[in-house]
Symmetry: C2
Subunit: 136 residues, 2 copies
DNA sequence: AGTGCTGGTCTCTTTTTGAGACCATCACTA
DNA sequence: TAGTGATGGTCTCAAAAAGAGACCAGCACT
C-alpha cells in the first residue's frame, strides 16, 4: 500500500527536481501541456498539420476566431517552436505559417489524444449529461 | 495542391457536421481537448492514474493548488466522467477520488503527450529562449 | 478618390483563474 | 467544557486571460 505511494511520490519528486526545486506547478511537463491548451491551439495545429496556411486562409477556415486571437495564438505557437512564420514580399505582403519539425513531432503525440476524442467524445458527452441530470 | 485543401476541408466539414451544423468551434474534439486543458487537470489525472486519493491527500500532494481550484477541478473531472467520487461516512466524512474506466482510457492517450513532454520539454524551452532573445 | 484585400494592433468588456477567509462537524485533550 | 485540529467544503473578491470590434498602413484596381 505504501509502495504505490512511494512510486508516485518519487515521480512527483522527479518533476519537482526538474522544475528547479521549486514547486510542482512549474514542472516542465505541465508547461508543455499548458502550451497545448488554449481554445484555438489544437484547432490551428490540426489545420497546419495538414499543410501550411496563410493568415487570411486560417481566418476563413476558423470563422469564429477573432483576428486578435489568431494573431496571438500563432505568435504563441511560434514562440514555443511549433510553428514557422514566413513573410513573402508580395504586393500586399503575405505571411505563411507552417509546422516546424518540433511541431510535427509534438503533433504526433497530440494526435493520439485527438483520435481518442474522435472515438469517445460521445461517451464524455453522455457522462456530462448524466451528471447534470443527477445534479438537477 | 488543391487536393490537400480538399482533404482538410473535408475533415473540418466532418467536425462541423458532428458539432451539429454550427461552427467548428463547438466541435466535440475541441470540447474534449478543452476538458484536458486547465492548469490542474493534467496534474490531478496523473496523480489519480497512480492510485485513488482523498481530498486532503491531493491537496498535500499539490501544495500550490487552492482548495477552491481543487474542488472545482475534481468536480469538472467528475462531470466529464473521468473521475469517480465516493464519500465514506467516517467520523469526519472522508471523500475518495479515483479514475473511472473512461478516465483510464483517456489517460492512456493523454499519456503519449506527457511522455513527449518529458522527452522534449527542453527543446520547447530552448525554442522559447531563442525566440525571446531574437525579439529583444 | 473610393473600395477592397493584405495582416495586423489597440481598447474595452466579459469570462475564467486564483488566493484567502470563512464554515459545520466531530474527536481528542487539557 | 472550552480549545485545537482534522475532515471537505463554500463564498467573496482581485487578477489574469479571452474575446469582440474599431482602427491602421500599404498597395491594386476601377
Amino acid at each position: 500500500m505504501d509502495g504505490k505511494v512511494i512510486n508516485l511520490k518519487a515521480k512527483l519528486e522527479v518533476y519537482k527536481a526538474i522544475s528547479g526545486g521549486g514547486n510542482i506547478a512549474n514542472c516542465p511537463v505541465r508547461e508543455v501541456i499548458q502550451g497545448v491548451s488554449g481554445k484555438w491551439r489544437s484547432l490551428l495545429m490540426m489545420a497546419l498539420a495538414e499543410k501550411p496556411y496563410r493568415f487570411g486562409e486560417l481566418r476563413r477556415l476558423v470563422p469564429d476566431i477573432s483576428q486578435r486571437m489568431l494573431t496571438q495564438t500563432l505568435y504563441d505557437l511560434q514562440r514555443d517552436g511549433y510553428v514557422h512564420r514566413e513573410v513573402f514580399p508580395t504586393k500586399p505582403p503575405s505571411v505563411e505559417y507552417s509546422l516546424t519539425d518540433l511541431g510535427r513531432s509534438m503533433f504526433g503525440a497530440f494526435h493520439q489524444l485527438i483520435l481518442w476524442a474522435e472515438l469517445n467524445h460521445d461517451a464524455v458527452r453522455a457522462a456530462r449529461a448524466d451528471f447534470d441530470a443527477s445534479q438537477a
